[in-house]
Symmetry: C2
């Protein structure tokens, strides 16, 4: 066992990377919000995102599913969604288990991948730049709208229902030795940046004005602002990583990342996660994400 519990995934042998991710009806999703196929797709993507965070090449998935046969769940549609998410990153279904259950639909997806050089949470150095892929907060915005009885715009809905595991950009960056530390954004930027800070023994500074957030389409009473959704919303499945100053800019001269990369802060000596506002003041940022509030 090369890497045990505490990172995005475990590593055994010469580079086999393993992670598992639960999706529970009423906690991680509601069946009124998305289709059964999307339930499978996002459950698998959430697990595959942990392989991306280690810069591992996905190999296969084990899919366990507990549900009430003869009830409302279309088990084959769920499996099709898992299969589609696996196929999107070149992985295959290795096996799994199915059980009847009197309770909510529960999916547990275990992923296995391989890499010669896993990128861990612990490698950030003072002076490194802090980068993120994609756009943050859309998934939380969709949930917020659903909970208020609204209908999210397509780009918000699909951020929740059909997220992308950032395997390709992770493999490309790591193949060039760019990331010093990496984590996927499943619990919200504030909480996941805290994992990088704690594992690396460093302070992470987030320049909030630089965050790639979405403009709100609709003002929903009680909804988080786009900035709050990005910082605390979770389940974006983008990658947060650190790199030596200038390393990403140099890499971008020749690379095609396929997704936006945004520098959103830096790493210092110290501890914790701090938000730096445009006027230069610092405030501590903390996590506290409790999934999407899909439960009533």
């Amino acid at each position: 066992v090369a890497v045990g519990p505490g990172d995005d995934a475990a590593v055994v042998g010469d580079g086999w990377v393993l992670s598992t991710d639960l999706s529970v009806e009423g906690v991680h999703f509601r069946r009124e919000w998305i289709t059964d196929e999307e339930i499978g797709f996002r459950a698998a993507t959430a697990a595959l995102s942990d392989l991306a965070a280690m810069a591992a090449e996905p190999v296969g998935l084990l899919v366990s599913m507990a549900y009430l046969p003869g009830g409302a769940v279309d088990a084959e549609a769920v499996q099709r969604g898992v299969q589609a998410a696996a196929a999107a990153v070149g992985a295959s279904i290795l096996g799994g288990d199915v059980s009847r259950s009197p309770g909510p639909l529960v999916l547990d997806v275990t992923v296995v991948g391989w890499t010669a050089a896993p990128v861990l949470r612990s490698g950030a150095n003072p002076g490194d730049a802090l980068w993120v892929t994609g756009c943050l907060g859309r998934s939380a915005a969709a949930v917020s709208l659903w909970r208020a009885g609204g209908t999210p715009a397509p780009r918000l809905r699909s951020a929740f229902a059909r997220p992308t595991a950032r395997v390709a950009v992770a493999r490309a960056l790591a193949g060039s030795g760019v990331p010093t530390a990496m984590v996927d954004l499943s619990d919200g930027l504030a909480g996941d940046a805290g994992h990088l800070a704690a594992a690396g023994g460093v302070r992470v500074i987030v320049e909030t004005a630089r965050l790639p957030v979405d403009a709100p389409d609709e003002a929903t009473p009680g909804s988080p602002t786009p900035l709050d959704a990005a910082l605390h919303g979770g389940e974006d499945y983008e990658l947060l990583f650190t790199a030596a100053p200038g390393a990403v800019e140099a890499w971008l001269q020749a690379a095609e990342p396929g997704v936006a990369l945004t520098r959103i802060g830096h790493v210092e000596a110290g501890e914790g996660v701090w938000a730096a506002t445009a006027d230069g003041s610092l405030a501590p940022l903390s996590g506290g994400f409790d999934h999407l509030g899909a439960s009533p």
Copy 2:
């Protein structure tokens, strides 16, 4: 991917063996029957038994658990049980996931092991002998007694609550090249022998008078006979394997298997599973095990 879905476990790379096993409250167990620690122990053992069936050395476990926090389940006790089952075979906890759930306790245990030479379900040859480890039917007898309102004797109770994954004997047998095909008995002898027959393209003959069954302690109205419990009861987690005639007897001259090995039949050309009675007549055996009937 060297071995995909359809065997006891999948094999990737040069011999990494992966399997996953669900345990659902009210389907696989009832919390009135066994302790929370035993729930964890047997869930982990059920998964580890699939590694034994491949003759793989256990390396680690990923443990996913969905339950209602603040409810009756002692999550730490469940985890202690998983840890004890892992320690019993020299494996460590690699990671996992925990989610709240409004439904029943759901445990999903994924195991990873390694072997240079996995023993598959498909290798049985006509002429091979059919062997089984341990004693069959105790687990089903315990469930039958619980369902009837009785209290199983300690050896029946522990067959259900604290089964043994037959890793040591599987590794020793396979290290000497003895088994030609192997499966673990999770669905009952009749059903699991059917897996060997189907995968190997052979007929499996079970000499029912030779089965290592328990004498009944108590006559419970409606309970299966010891023979029926052995054939159809499931969740014994013993190993069923085939070997060339005389191979096991020769191996036993020098080995210490640590568990009883009983020759219970043989393999012929043909298909399906057949029960041979003492007078030599044959009758088809079929599976149809639906877990332990833990649901009302």
